[in-house]
């Protein structure tokens, strides 16, 4: 469990990125921080592993204040995935994945073998391990970034807009992969994004931000969709434009036979999909 207790961050130039922020991020769940750029969400994420120090307030991981812990040790115990993957360009993919275990003194051979196993886990071919990051596609690099973050088997995974730089198809792929991984691993994930759809796709808990690191609303995706707290949230999730208000349109309206599949349309009358009454197919 990660707990923020009235945390404030004021940068030397006077901007207040985060103001009196309190939040609990439950263990083994995915908390997604979502908001437009400059709302302080990345600052909040980076305070967890002390990449940014709060001006006041406390951050606790499992009831232990992080400010009393050794920065380097703390960071090695927390997985971190960045937007551009942030791989070391002069090291092969396996060695990138093995970075943290090797820093912790795991022998090179063991760390590399474990790294190859992690490549399997994130859906990459082992043969890519011998390549350099530059020789991989953006999506593959992100997968390597996730594998590196998992290498020391941390309890906490921090993800800073990790899928922001890849195209929509690859992004959907990566989201599905992360959902699958999370089912298997049950990490405490803190995920930052500006994409509300991504937030709803991944989150157990969504936290929507206004400027200055202020929470506009927090809750499960269903709670937020069902009861947007105010106009800001409505606009942010697209409820005001009717994008989230789906209704069933009878198939006969489209000239189909009665009793055929029912088409769902959104508030603006645009087709959103069909209603599957059989429930989830799996």
């Amino acid at each position: 469990m990660i707990e923020f207790r009235s945390v404030t961050k004021k940068f030397p130039d006077g901007t207040v990125a985060v103001d009196d922020f309190s939040l609990t991020m439950p263990s083994h769940e995915t908390t997604v921080l979502v908001g437009s750029s400059g709302c302080g969400k990345t600052t909040i994420l980076r305070m967890i592993n002390r990449m940014v120090e709060p001006t006041s307030g406390q951050i606790l991981i499992d009831d232990v204040d992080v400010s009393g812990q050794d920065k380097v040790g703390l960071r090695r115990s927390i997985g971190y995935v960045l937007q551009a993957a942030g791989l070391l360009p002069h090291r092969r993919v396996v060695d990138n994945v093995a970075t943290v275990p090797m820093l912790n003194g795991t022998p090179k051979k063991d760390a590399r073998e474990a790294a190859l196993g992690l490549l399997d886990k994130v859906g990459l071919d082992r043969s890519l391990g011998a390549r350099y990051p530059r020789q991989l596609s953006g999506g593959q690099q992100q997968r390597v970034g996730v594998a590196r973050a998992l290498a020391s088997d941390p309890n906490i995974l921090l993800m800073d807009e990790p899928f922001g730089a890849v195209d929509p198809i690859v992004r959907a792929d990566l989201q599905a992969e992360l959902t699958r991984l999370q089912k298997e691993l049950g990490k405490t994930i803190v995920f930052v994004t500006h994409d509300i759809d991504e937030a709803f796709a991944l989150a157990d808990q969504v936290v929507i931000f206004r400027k200055g690191g202020r929470i506009a609303q927090q809750g499960t995706p269903a709670e937020i969709l069902a009861n947007p707290a105010d106009e800001f949230v409505e606009t942010f999730i697209g409820a005001d434009r009717g994008r989230r208000r789906l209704r069933v349109r009878d198939s006969t309206e489209d000239g189909g036979p009665a009793g055929g599949p029912q088409v769902l349309v959104d508030g603006d009358g645009r087709v959103a999909g069909v209603l599957d009454e059989r429930g989830p197919t799996r």
């Binding site: 942030g86 070391l88 190859l116 391990g129 011998a130 530059r134 590196r148």
Partner: protein
């Protein structure tokens, strides 16, 4: 073209390299001296400039000051510095030692700016996100410096060393006017004897030395630059087996 042939004949004459030949011969001794001076002053300059450059590049502190100072140092006329320091040293030391010590100090000073600039601009050229990621993964500042910044900055660091070494080779030649040995001695002797063949022979030797050393540096620089770029591609497949589980 006869004078060029004469000069080449002089260079390749075994008598010019025979032990005990009269000054400025044997050429081999002058060549070794020249390399020694270069190694000593470039080495001393690297010992001073590399740590300083790494500090500036890593922390970003003192950057403006150092850019100003090194810029000014680069503008110093080599010959002026050489004579000034040799003369200052001459007040304290016996004449022969003063020439050597003074020249070496001057050459060291002249080599510092290039090495310093290569070191800090090399570190600055490393992608900030890469460094941020290394830090977020739990590398200490020293590990970031030695495992991320320096390896990635290597081509530029070597570029700085390359420029410095070439400058020292060139300037060490004119240092013979201030009493230093080396290949410049061949040229000064030629001037004193009014012997164009000897002057040209000395000039050709210095040029050849500079080209060879520059070529070696170019190769090293190329190797470090391509290690993780184009050159890596060919090596990638071959080493799959090496990284695979045994």
């Amino acid at each position: 073209m006869n004078f060029v042939l004469d000069a080449l004949r002089y260079i390749f004459d075994p008598a010019s390299w025979a032990a005990g030949a009269t000054s400025p011969l044997p050429l081999g001794d002058r060549l070794v001296e020249h390399l020694e001076y270069t190694a000593i002053s470039a080495g001393a300059a690297a010992l001073i400039a590399l740590p300083l450059g790494f500090y500036i590049g890593h922390t970003g502190r003192w950057r403006q000051t150092v850019i100003g100072v090194t810029g000014a140092m680069r503008a110093l006329p080599a010959l002026g510095v050489l004579f000034f320091i040799t003369m200052v040293a001459g007040y304290q030391l016996p004449f022969l030692v003063a020439a050597t010590v003074g020249s070496l100090i001057a050459l060291t000073l002249l080599a510092i700016p290039s090495i310093l600039a290569g070191a800090y601009s090399g570190l600055e050229s490393v992608d900030r996100q890469t460094i941020d990621a290394a830090r977020a993964n739990g590398m200490t500042e020293m590990q970031i410096l030695f495992r991320v910044e320096i390896p990635l900055a290597l081509p530029l660091i070597i570029g700085g060393l390359r420029a410095a070494v070439l400058q020292v080779i060139a300037t060490a030649t004119i240092a013979s006017f201030a009493g230093l040995g080396g290949l410049g001695r061949v040229i000064t002797s030629g001037i004193a004897l009014n012997d164009f063949t000897v002057i040209l022979a000395g000039a050709l030797l210095v040029t050849a030395l500079a080209l060879v050393v520059d070529g070696l540096f170019a190769i090293v620089q190329k190797l470090t630059a391509t290690r993780f770029e184009a050159g890596a591609r060919s090596g990638a497949d071959a080493s799959v087996a090496a990284v695979g589980p045994e």
